[in-house]
Structures are given as structure tokens and as C-alpha cells.
């Protein structure tokens, strides 16, 4: 998956060396997002400059698309159906590379910037995600599952699409704001920026963002994972201790 994307990006990279193409200088407001006790999500500002060769701006303004992507997950999706009067999980589909988080912003609606094929190559848009199905479902079934996934994650704030929200100032400076939901998982995120002109991606640049848990949250999560016996003991001791203390205090009152 990753390799094929790199392969597709290669012509674009070669074109850049040709020097007559514009370049992107992107940045993000936070290189590191720390999840701590009061974490309710974050707002990321993705901004940067478009550098045209010799400083000549094209007559027709270019478009910017930014994509913020989280670590990919291998997932199993289940679909409920009514069987004998109750709703039970019936059909399943497996996907090898579903992004745990995907947010996209563009300066205009995607279908007016690029054609279907280009959008599919660069995964621009929630309906263009390449999920690599690994189960043998029919294609109609797969697209049903895919739209189910998009709908579910969109409502929990994990999939975001904000067409028309990238501001471009004087044709050279751009900025976009993307929300990072409180339900994001930890890992390495990428912020990709694409410069599109006449339906063609003429420049692309990537910035990495790390999302991690802060001291206490990280400590709890790794204790649960690696010292599960001690962790269990602590949970039990806490429950017994608090129950006993409350009883002891109540007897005094």
C-alpha cells in the first residue's frame, strides 16, 4: 500500500527536480500532540507557503488540499441484521489498511479541483480511501461496508472532510484548520499538502506529527499492558480500600 503510493508519487518528485514547478513549504502548529488528563481533542493549524519559480504567480490561482492521516489499522467490520426478531451481527468484512484518523481540507470542493482518478490516486476524500479489503466479499458488499465505516467514524469525529476551508492569501500563503478528535489513537500521523493546478498535482509535501499520551496516561496504559498482574492487584486494592474506608467513615458519622 505504502510502497504503491511512493511509486505513484515518484513522477511528481522527478517533475520537481525539473525546477520549473512550484514548491510547497508546509508546517503545522503542533509537531507533537500530547494526550493528558483533560484532553478533549485538539485543533491543528496546517499552514505554509507556495514558492513559485522566479516568484511568478500563475494567472489561474492554484488549489491546496491538506490531508491529516493517522496510523493505519487492520480492522474487522460487522454488520447487524435482523435474525429471528433480534438484531445480531451477520456479515463481516476485513480491511487491512483502514486509517484510524483521516481529515481533509481543500480550497474548493474536491470534484472541482481534480478528477476522480487523481482523487483516488492521492486518496483525496472519504470515498476515495484505499482500505485494502482482505476478505472475499462482493464489490457491492464492500462498498456498503466502506460507507458504513466512513459514516461511523465521521460521526465520532475520526473522519473529517472540510471542503472549501483552506484559505489562500495572495496566492502564496495558505492555512487550514483541522480538528483532532479526543478519540484518536497514539502513533505517527502525517500531514500531507498537495498543490493542484489544472487538475494536476504539481507539488506535494509531508510533515510528521506525533500523538502520544502524557506521563500519567502513558504510565497507566503501559502498566495495563506490561505489568498486568500488578495492575490488577492495584485495581483490586483500590476497590477494597475505598469500600472499606467509606464503611469505616460512615460508622463514625
Amino acid at each position: 500500500m505504502r510502497r504503491s503510493r511512493a511509486f505513484l508519487a515518484l513522477p511528481a518528485a522527478l517533475a520537481l527536480i525539473g525546477a520549473d514547478e512550484p514548491q510547497l513549504v508546509p508546517d503545522v502548529s503542533q509537531r507533537e500532540v500530547v494526550i493528558q488528563y483533560s484532553f478533549t481533542g485538539a485543533d491543528l493549524l496546517l499552514f505554509g507557503a507556495i514558492v513559485y519559480p522566479d516568484g511568478r504567480r500563475p494567472d489561474k490561482p492554484a488549489d491546496i488540499v491538506v490531508v491529516l492521516k493517522g496510523p493505519e489499522q487492520s480492522i474487522t467490520m460487522r454488520e447487524k441484521q435482523k435474525v429471528a426478531g433480534i438484531w445480531v451481527n451477520a456479515d463481516t468484512a476485513r480491511f487491512r489498511s483502514a486509517p484510524s484518523f483521516y481529515a481533509m481540507a481543500s480550497s474548493r470542493p474536491i470534484d472541482r479541483i481534480v478528477d476522480e482518478r487523481t482523487a483516488a490516486i492521492y486518496e483525496l476524500g472519504l470515498d476515495k480511501l484505499q482500505l485494502s479489503p482482505s476478505s472475499l466479499n462482493e464489490s457491492a458488499e464492500l462498498s456498503r461496508f466502506q460507507s458504513g465505516l466512513v459514516d461511523l467514524r465521521a460521526r465520532s469525529g475520526l473522519f473529517v472532510e472540510r471542503p472549501g476551508t483552506v484559505e489562500i492569501t495572495d496566492g502564496v500563503l495558505y492555512r487550514a484548520r483541522l480538528p483532532l478528535s479526543a478519540r484518536v489513537i497514539v502513533g505517527d500521523y502525517t500531514a500531507e499538502t498537495f498543490l493542484v493546478q489544472d487538475g494536476r498535482v504539481v507539488a506535494a509535501a509531508v510533515r510528521d506529527i506525533t500523538v502520544r499520551k502524557s506521563g500519567f496516561e502513558q504510565f497507566i496504559a503501559s502498566a495495563a499492558e506490561h505489568w498486568s498482574f500488578v495492575y490488577g492487584l492495584v485495581a483490586i486494592a483500590m476497590a477494597v480500600g475505598m469500600g472499606w474506608a467509606a464503611g469505616a467513615i460512615a460508622r463514625r458519622i
Binding site: I35, Q36, Y37, S38, F39, T40, G41, Q73, S74, I75, T76, M77, R78, E79, K80, K82, G85, I86, W87, V88, N89, T92, S100, F145, G148, L149, D151, L152, R153, A182, R183, I185, K213, F216, E217, Q218, I220, A221, A224, E225, S228, F229, Y231, G232, L233, V234, A235, I236, M238, A239, V240, M242, G243, W244, A245, A246, G247, A248, I249, A250
Partner: protein
């Protein structure tokens, strides 16, 4: 006040969870039940993943039953021998529950099974309690006492081989009966995050025919240890015990439990029981509707 739960991986309003624990604790203090049957569905309803909800609710039941066990031990109304057999069965049952949990998770049917178990268990027990407490209320109003039921264990229990004496329970029966009973509640504790007092108390009364005064103390004693074992098994296998979530629930429930105990002293037990029966039947009906109505989410995602 938003607080991030490190295992559940989401933010919750801490006051809502404490309040939820408080309400459950209040009920558990009033009725002498663990209250896990309310915590797990409420947490799932709030958006906590079902596995984390069941795993963390077990430790809340531990906290809610501790002070009750001390009280009953002081009064001498705990049959330790009977409790020991029940706990042995409960721990084995919880271990079996781990396998059932994994199997159902693999098949993708854990949510449905949890739902059906809740409906059957709460519906059955609720109906039984409602019938009994209505009879008791009628008897109270008319002044007529119902004919005293002859205390006798179920014929199936009498058929089991090898008999032990359980002095405080006033029984001479095979330890296999409470062992099997303990196993059944252990499985339920692991799957549902409930203490199992609901099943245990009526079963001890009507199946085993135990002396009434030691039933509640012994069942609390069993619940305390089995929920402790379950918390440990969840910590070791599903790794879904959220300490922060458990702490919030405990803060609410241990306080609520003490308040509930005081309230229960000023209300007639007959009224308390019909109230509890109504709550149990309401939860069962709500879960049954949930199974039958089109769910909000048709799709579920499991990360591997």
C-alpha cells in the same frame, strides 16, 4: 469536568460517571445488591466500549460489597464453608468465562449474547421478585400471613453424591450443588460485569434451601472474592480494566452505598423489594427493546 480515560481511549465527564456510580451505589446500599447489572449497560450507553465497561464495573461491585461483608462477618451471618465452595466454583466459572468471552468475541456475537443474557436473567429474576413481593404486600395489608413454606432443597440437589455439613446454613448437602451455582455466577460475572447476587440469593434460598439469615452475608462474601478474581482475569487477559474509570465509579458508589444503607433502614423491606423488582424489570424491558429495535449503529468496528 472532562477527564481522559487512558484505557477506554476517550474523554468522559467525570461528574457524570461519579453520579452514575452514586446512583448505582445508592441502589446497592438500599437493596443489598452489587449493582453491576446497572453499571455495565449505563456505561455502554454512555459510549464506553463494552469490554472496558464490563471489566471496570466488576471492581466497582468489589468496592460496593466490602463494607457489607464486614458488617455480616461481625454479625456472624457468613457461612465461610459455603462461601468457600461458592468462591471455588466462582473462580473456575470466571476462568471458563474468559474462554467464552474470547470465543464470542472471535465470532462477533459478544454484544448479542450479553444482551440476551441480561434480558433472560433480569426478566426471570425480576418476575420472581415481583410475584413474591406482591404476595408479601397483600399479606401485609390483609394481615394474613402466607403459609410458611417448608424449607427444603431441590430434589436435584438431594440426588448429588457426597454430602457435607454446612452448619451456619443449616444444610447437609453435596458441595457439588453450591460449586455448580458458583460456577454459573462466575461466568456471568466475567461476561456481564455483574456480581451475580441476583442469581445467587434466590438460588441459595430456593434451590439449596439455605437458612435465610446467612444468605445475604454469604452471597456478599462470594461476590466480593469472585469480582476480585474477575478484575484480575480481565487485567490479565482482556487488559480492559480502566483504573481512572474504576476510581470515578468507586468514588460515587462507596458514598452512595452508605447513604443507601441508611435509607433502607427507614423503609419497610416489602416496599424495598417491590421497588427493586420494578427497576430490574425496567432494565430487562429496556434491554429487550434494544435487541428488537433497529440499533443506532448497524456497523461495528473491531481493531486487530
Amino acid at each position: 469536568m472532562d477527564l481522559y480515560l487512558p484505557i477506554a481511549n476517550l474523554s468522559v465527564n467525570a461528574l457524570v460517571i461519579i453520579g452514575l456510580g452514586g446512583v448505582v451505589g445508592l441502589l446497592s446500599g438500599m437493596f443489598g445488591v452489587g449493582g453491576g447489572f446497572l453499571t455495565t449497560p449505563l456505561l455502554i450507553f454512555y459510549g464506553i466500549p463494552p469490554t472496558v465497561a464490563a471489566a471496570s464495573a466488576a471492581s466497582q461491585v468489589t468496592g460496593a460489597s466490602v463494607s457489607g461483608v464486614f458488617t455480616h462477618m461481625a454479625r456472624g451471618t457468613v457461612d465461610f464453608r459455603m462461601g468457600g465452595v461458592l468462591i471455588a466454583g466462582g473462580v473456575v466459572g470466571a476462568g471458563m468465562g474468559v474462554f467464552i468471552f474470547r470465543l464470542l468475541q472471535y465470532l462477533g456475537q459478544i454484544d448479542t449474547v450479553i444482551g440476551i443474557l441480561y434480558v433472560l436473567m433480569l426478566g426471570g429474576i425480576g418476575a420472581l421478585m415481583a410475584k413474591e413481593s406482591i404476595q408479601a404486600l397483600v399479606a401485609l395489608k390483609t394481615g394474613k400471613r402466607p403459609p410458611a413454606r417448608k424449607r427444603r432443597h431441590h430434589p436435584l440437589v438431594a440426588a448429588l453424591p457426597m454430602r457435607w455439613r454446612f452448619y451456619r446454613s443449616g444444610l447437609y448437602i453435596s458441595p457439588l450443588a453450591p460449586l455448580l451455582l458458583g460456577m454459573a455466577t462466575g461466568i456471568l460475572t466475567m461476561l456481564l460485569g455483574v456480581g451475580g447476587g441476583f442469581i445467587l440469593v434466590p438460588a441459595m434460598l430456593y434451590l439449596l434451601g439455605m437458612a435465610t439469615q446467612s444468605v445475604v452475608g454469604t452471597s456478599l462474601f462470594q461476590i466480593l472474592f469472585v469480582t476480585m478474581a474477575t478484575t484480575m482475569m480481565h487485567a490479565m487477559t482482556t487488559k480492559a480494566v480502566d483504573l481512572v474509570l474504576a476510581l470515578l465509579l468507586l468514588i460515587g458508589s462507596v458514598v452512595g452505598a452508605q447513604v443507601g444503607t441508611r435509607i433502607s433502614m427507614s423503609i419497610r423491606p416489602e416496599y424495598l423489594r417491590i421497588l427493586l423488582a420494578a427497576i430490574v424489570l425496567f432494565v430487562a424491558a429496556r434491554m429487550a427493546l434494544g435487541l428488537g429495535f433497529r440499533p443506532d449503529e448497524i456497523y461495528t468496528i473491531e481493531v486487530r
